[in-house]
Symmetry: C2
Subunit: 226 residues, 2 copies
């Protein structure tokens, strides 16, 4: 569903250059749940953003389906993302003037698709926010805001969901609900999930775990158990 | 070092009232490391902010040392916090136009205290940010921003540190460094630490773990082991 070849990403210039990605080649197969772990600053968010078309590689190639991201215009890239990609940001990126409910439905509005009401309800139930939909982000706890960000990515039922530490602010019960739901979306609906996490418990829901260190892949575990 | 008595906190009015705190009485003894756990939305951040004087209770009383927070003027409260309290926010609250180094030194500037250079270096080493001090928050990874927020609270060597999920975005190695450091600050320097966490591994560094559910204390464990 998505892949990168020989991907590099450089930030800064001269002495203060940081090679956030330093030669990464990886494929995310359709209908699979991949977890990515690694030290803080190892390049996980950078890899996710480049694979999802939210940022550009310095060198190397990135694909979603058969479309090469580096060859698309800004407009084509935006349309591709809107149609195929859901993204849960490490820092949520919610719209502060919209309520939780409006934030969740927002990508569907943008894509001019009508929310499937039954699906919307199921997603809202899963993230446990049914009684908080009328509140704005500033009136929600940290974990509730994170759950709004997760619901927003799930409700579009995109082909591929990139989730950057989606359970970092959640207790075991709330994370379990979300992780099982993503697992079900992969096994029953054929969606593809790529999830960054620091929690081995969360990684154990995935089919495969990749390890990133200093911008390079340094390991892989299939069908992990905690 | 700090305590709350019969604390309640209500948000909203009428039908959409939320009792974020619903009768909490707890003391945080000087020189102790307390962890607070509980479901997302149970009132942990609210309890921390009211105990630290960043927000006002609806009813009940909060004290830092012998000073009753509800009886202080805004100015007295600000001075008390600046002198005695360090706070690590769940969403960091870094100043976007300052570098990591400037963010870390900021509270000392405000309090017109000179940073003790050796201590500053030790804190920066502990959080592993020595090579990122000249970068602004937007040029840092999620976990690096979290570590700036932690360093900023530690560098003032306040009597009491309130840390709201300080390791949520960190890998095991980085969290371990920070948690051991806080434990040392408590055992060797007599500081007081109150830490919200969803991670039982992090809670195991504390002397005592409190459990909060729906705005009430529902349990306590002394000297936890994982
Ligand atoms: N400004 C506000 N207006 C209305 N409700 C609020 C406001 N701020 C917080 N709340 C509600 O108060 C309750 C407690 O919030 P709090 O942030 O203390 O939870 P928490 O335990 O820190 O959760 P998390 O683990 O998700 O960070 C939540 O249900 C939240 O939605
Ligand atoms: N705009 C930028 N300018 C300079 N350096 C940057 C910029 N954005 C990120 N970096 C650096 O690139 C490296 C990788 O960052 P990235 O956000 O991908 O890490 P991460 O693995 O997601 O970390 P975390 O687990 O802390 O979220 C980090 O060292 C970071 O400081
Ligand atoms: Mg990251
Ligand atoms: Mg909170």
């Amino acid at each position: 569903a998505a892949q990168v070849h020989d991907a590099t990403k450089r930030y800064g210039k001269g002495d203060s250059t940081v090679m956030a990605l330093n030669g990464v080649t990886v494929g995310f197969q359709k209908g699979r749940f991949t977890a990515i772990m690694g030290p803080s600053g190892s390049g996980k968010s950078t890899l996710m953003q480049c694979a999802a078309g939210l940022d550009q590689l310095t060198s190397g190639r990135a694909f979603i389906g058969s479309a090469e991201l580096g060859r698309l215009s800004e407009k084509q890239l935006t349309l591709l993302r809107r149609e195929k990609v859901g993204f849960v940001f490490q820092q949520f990126n919610l719209l502060p003037t919209l309520t939780a409910g409006e934030n969740i439905a927002f990508p569907l509005r943008l894509a001019k698709r009508r929310p499937d009401k039954a699906w919307m309800d199921q997603v809202v139930q899963t993230v446990g926010l049914a009684d908080r939909l009328d509140h704005k982000p500033s009136e929600l706890s940290g974990g509730q805001q994170q759950r709004v960000a997760v619901a927003r990515a799930l409700v579009e039922r995109p082909e591929i969901i990139f989730a950057d530490e989606p359970t970092g602010n959640l207790d075991t019960h709330s994370s379990g609900e979300i992780l099982s739901f993503m697992q079900t979306a992969v096994r029953d609906l054929g969606q593809t999930v790529v999830m960054v996490t620091h929690d081995p418990g969360a990684a154990s829901y995935a089919d495969r775990v990749l390890f990133l260190t200093d911008g390079r892949l340094t390991g892989e575990v299939m069908a992990p158990t905690v």
